[in-house]
């Protein structure tokens, strides 16, 4: 190996190290500003029986490698996002909601006791046929699914790959501003992209190539929204960090309002 070639390798190594250092330092900075906690105590009132439970879907992950393996899990933002959102739901509406979330999956029939289910990062789910069919049965019986926090072309394709195992008979469509789901309680005509904390300090609000936020839906035979798809946005982070001064209030506020509208829509349509 000649000197020039050795020098090039060293330089490349230094650059990579510098990049990784910068990345780590930035991520560390975010984590310092938005510290995760493992504390998981049931909130007061969790034991009471209520009309509404915020149910989170536990799903099998896609077996990805490389950088994609770092992302994606049903547990993202769990449980703080759920509990913090439900506090807002209880305070702002007349829904008799339980302050603690419930976790459901598609391997048992427990999901049928929770007509509203939230799924995070479905851009990394990998539903087996049987689970996809059960999800369809859940929807056909009248259940409602809200998806959140997946971004860009790659994750969209992973999302639809699982979904199409049982929902290919009708298309996924963009939801118009005039749709009741944006007006059940709050009028959400002027929506913005809700970024995750990974975008801190939020000069940029998108991830990967998911530049444009999309409010999409899979509608049932009567045209009712049955799967509400929040694509290229991260409501979960907005709920989770709504109490954090480093997370902009306008995003948190919209995330709360959007989910409240979705839940009210689910309970009335």
């Amino acid at each position: 190996m000649d000197m020039r070639r050795q020098l090039a390798l060293v330089l490349a190594g230094l650059m990579l190290a510098a990049t990784l250092y910068a990345f780590q330092r930035g991520y560390g900075n975010i984590r310092r500003l938005f510290p995760e906690t493992d504390a998981d105590f049931p909130p007061p009132g969790a034991e009471q029986k209520t009309e509404f439970y915020f149910a989170r879907l536990r799903y099998p992950n896609v077996r990805a490698s490389g950088i994609w393996a770092m992302r994606g899990s049903w547990t993202v933002d769990y449980p703080k996002a759920d509990r913090q959102f439900v506090q807002g739901l209880i305070r702002l509406t007349r829904i008799h909601a339980n302050p603690m979330e419930r976790v459901v999956d598609l391997t048992s029939d427990e999901i049928f006791n929770y007509p509203f289910v939230y799924v995070v990062e479905p851009g990394h789910w990998d539903l087996p046929e049987a689970q996809a069919r059960k999800l369809r049965e859940f929807i056909d019986r009248g259940g409602f699914l809200m998806t959140d926090d997946f971004h860009g072309t790659f994750e969209w394709e992973l999302f639809t790959a699982s979904l199409n195992k049982a929902f290919a008979d009708r298309p996924i469509v963009d939801v118009e501003d005039s749709d009741p789901i944006f007006h059940v309680l709050y009028d959400l005509d002027d929506r913005v992209q809700v970024p995750g904390i990974v975008n801190y300090p939020f000069q940029k609000t998108y991830e990967y190539d998911g530049i444009e936020p999309k409010w999409r839906a899979w509608r049932d035979a009567r045209g009712r929204i049955a799967i509400a798809i929040c694509f290229n946005m991260d409501q979960g982070d907005a709920w989770e960090w709504a109490d954090n001064p480093h997370y902009p209030e306008k995003y948190a506020s919209q995330a709360y309002r959007t989910a409240i509208n979705y839940i009210l829509y689910a309970m009335t349509h």
């Binding site: 029986k49 009309e51 007349r94 049928f112 007509p115 056909d140 009248g142 309680l185 309970m267 009335t268």
Partner: protein, 742 residues
């Protein structure tokens, strides 16, 4: 024998008054009898008789003495009798089609044209009448009975009317009593009683049908929504086929809507069978309900009846008010949407100050939440009150809800919930009155605990809870339903309320779950849960239990609600010549009985029949307008009423009816002896079997009608008196001989 012993027939004794021809008073007779008894007692005591002997001999001797004294006073009967040849006897012969059965008419003719009437003619002029569609005086009876109707009342009324100018002494009525003219009511009886005309009825035909199956009645709602389930109740009677089975079928034209194998029961007694029918598409339908005739059945023309049902294409509006977002609301809405015949508007309080409205017809509708005016609330046919406290509604709104059921005739459904029923203070509100249960005075009656729903006996029969057609399958289906998400304790059902379903949260625990009752003009139901949504979410998506239950409950609640104008006829089918009684119930803008409305009815019928009539206000009921009309020819008729107040139209309604000639003649064909006996007894006449009618001529003269004379007929010389005298003396002699005291 009676006449031999007592000189006269029993009827003379029944109608006569006892008098004494001697002219001596009855009081003197009594005094003498007492004195005789005292004298005898003194004499017998002197003979030292005691105890039984004193009593027995005393009675015998006093009996003889008393009888002789009574005869000395010359007892007689004072009776009023018709003057011979000066009174008319009307002989009425039923010439309707039912008299053709069992040779009834031939028998009647033999009597009317034979010895019995010939006997009468010796003493009285006889007038002959036939009773059928219309009564007529005839010289000769028709060869065959062909009248399509039996109107005995009209014939008797005509005779009573004629008695004003003609001395009618009595009526002899020869009939099977199968009257279907509807004129044999108290008015007719009263007119005969006023004229003092006794009706002597001669009954023909067997009193119990032999080997026959009959559809005695069939009851269907007159109006239903398209696609509704209707409950048909068929009343059957049979004789001679007990234990056998027969096929009951309901047809709309050529298509069979329902059929059922029925086991023939109740020898001669009516029993009921029910069938649930699908009303199908909109339109006026004439349904044929029939039992397939059995072999050896004598009368097959009473095996089928027709009923008209008006399947009206309209969408009743239902208002659902929910105090907070609940899953129950979502799934009720979905069930109503799938129905296609229900129009559900809803309001839910999403936050303390916001409502979310669905199913509204304009942006302004229900803008301020629950209606506060008659105009707004009474535009709906039914109301669902969800999980909301009674105190949320103002006193005026609470009154409005009560009036909605009572005055408007709407349906009100109360649901269970954490702020509903007793947890919402409803038991202390004025609306507690309209609830079908008494509510307990406690909080915490609502429980988010699982409970299964079990049908009661009434629920097994109800159309609301008929998820499966077959009753057994339906019961099994209810048992297999997933548990309810919650239930609410209620008190006992009120008198008149019906518990259709019970909530069973555990062993030995039961609470009324679905209870219904009528209130005023409307209906009220209570469903003490907010958790039927599990029937949808916990069952296969293709399962229709939840949808069917809710659709049927909402149709029951809203489908029969009457509007401002309701047009009715007294029956669905009429015989020719019979008056169709048309009645319109008219309410004003506030749903109060209208007294100032003008109601006109346009009737359309077969062969271009068209007639317009004005209904007259009823003298006894406010807001009711009536008229009588006669259908000129057989077939189906449609009547439409329009009610106006001034220039303003209050509303309109239609009703359908049929004229069917002769159909009634083949139903209830056995002799109606009870009717004939009652008629004879109430007018002072007598009932005769044909075989006993020979005595008619003698008894008929005992009448107070027409030209009469008072006769005194002695009875002191009746053989019975002398036989009694001899019998008493012989008995005394035997007794004395036995005791050795001769």
């Amino acid at each position: 024998m009676f006449e031999f012993l007592f000189n006269y027939p029993l009827a003379v004794y029944r109608k006569g008054t006892l008098v004494f021809s001697s002219g001596w008073s009855a009081a003197l007779l009594a005094t003498v009898l007492i004195a005789a008894a005292a004298g005898l007692f003194w004499l017998l005591r002197r003979r030292r008789l005691e105890g039984r002997r004193l009593l027995a001999l005393g009675l015998f001797e006093w009996g003889v003495l008393a009888l002789l004294l009574v005869l000395l006073w010359q007892p007689a009967l004072s009776v009023t009798v018709l003057k011979p040849q000066q009174n008319v006897v009307a002989v009425v012969v039923d010439a309707s089609a039912s008299m053709a059965l069992e040779q009834r008419y031939q028998e009647a003719r033999q009597l009317a044209e034979g010895a019995v009437v010939a006997d009468l003619k010796k003493r009285f002029p006889v007038r002959l009448y036939v009773a059928g569609d219309v009564p007529a005086r005839v010289e000769k009876l028709p060869e065959t009975p062909e009248a399509q109707r039996t109107d005995l009342g009209a014939a008797l009324r005509q005779i009573a009317a004629e008695s004003a100018m003609l001395p009618v002494g009595a009526v002899v009525l020869m009939t099977d009593g199968a009257d279907n003219g509807g004129n044999l009511g108290p008015d007719t009886i009263e007119s005969l009683r006023r004229a003092r005309i006794p009706v002597h009825a001669v009954g023909f035909g067997s009193e119990k049908a032999e080997r026959d199956v009959e559809i005695a009645d069939a009851d269907l709602p007159a109006r239903v929504l398209p696609g509704s389930r209707m409950l048909l109740t068929v009343t059957l009677r049979q004789s001679g086929f007990r234990g056998q089975t027969a096929k009951l079928a309901v047809r709309d034209g050529d298509s069979v809507l329902a059929q059922k194998e029925v086991k023939l029961a109740g020898e001669g007694e009516p029993w009921r069978e029910t069938l649930a029918l699908d009303a199908g598409n909109a339109g006026v339908k004439t349904l044929s309900i029939s039992v397939v005739p059995l072999a050896e059945e004598a009368n097959k023309r009473n095996n089928a009846v027709e009923r008209i049902v008006d399947v009206r294409d309209r969408k009743p509006r239902i208002l659902y008010f929910e105090g907070e977002p609940r899953w129950e609301m979502k799934f009720i809405r979905r069930a109503a949407e799938e129905d296609g015949q229900l129009d559900l508007a809803s309001i839910v309080r999403t936050t303390e100050n916001r409502f979310y409205r669905q199913g509204i017809r304009s942006p302004q509708e229900l803008e301020r939440g629950f209606p506060a005016s008659v105009d707004e609330l009474f535009a709906f046919q039914a109301l669902i009150i969800g999980n909301v406290e009674a105190g949320y509604f103002s006193p005026a709104q609470q009154t409005l809800i009560r009036e909605f059921a009572d005055r408007r005739g709407g349906g009100v459904l109360f649901l269970g919930g954490r702020a509903a029923l007793s947890d919402g203070g409803w038991h202390r509100s004025p609306l507690a009155e309209i609830l079908p249960v008494g509510l307990p005075d406690k909080k915490g009656a609502f429980r988010r605990e699982p409970a299964t729903a079990e049908l009661t006996r009434a629920g097994a029969e109800s159309l609301i809870t008929r998820i499966e057609e077959d009753p057994e399958k339906n019961m099994a289906r209810w048992k297999a339903l997933p548990y309810l998400a919650d239930y609410q304790e209620t008190g006992a059902p009120k008198p008149g309320a019906t518990v259709l379903v019970e909530a069973v949260p555990g062993v030995r625990l039961r609470h009324p779950l679905l209870v219904t009752q009528n209130y005023g003009r409307g209906r009220v139901a209570l469903l003490a849960t907010g958790g039927t949504w599990r029937w949808q979410m916990a069952q296969d998506a293709r399962d229709q239990s939840h949808e069917t239950f809710w659709q049927q409950l909402l149709r029951w609640l809203s489908g029969q609600v009457e509007e401002r104008v309701t047009l009715l006829t007294s029956r669905q089918t009429y015989e020719g010549g019979e008056a169709v009684r048309i009645r319109a119930e008219v309410r004003d803008h506030n749903y109060l009985p209208s007294t100032s409305a003008v109601v006109s009815v346009n009737v359309l019928g077969p062969g271009g029949v068209s007639d317009t009539l004005e209904l007259a206000p009823s003298r006894t009921e406010a807001g009711v307008f009536e008229a009588e009309w006669r259908a000129p020819r057989p077939g189906s008729y449609l009547a439409e009423a329009v009610a106006r107040e001034g220039m303003e139209e209050l509303g309109r309604d239609t009703v359908t009816f049929r004229r069917e000639d002769g159909a009634q003649e083949f139903f209830r064909t056995e002799q109606n002896r009870e009717l004939l006996e009652r008629l004879a007894q109430q007018t002072g006449g007598r009932y005769y079997r044909p075989a006993d009618a020979g005595g008619l001529a003698k008894e008929i003269e005992l009448s107070e009608a027409g030209i009469t004379v008072r006769e005194t007929r002695p009875v002191w010389n009746a053989p019975a008196a002398f036989l009694l005298l001899a019998g008493l003396k012989a008995a005394e002699w035997l007794v004395r001989r036995r005791w050795g005291a001769v």
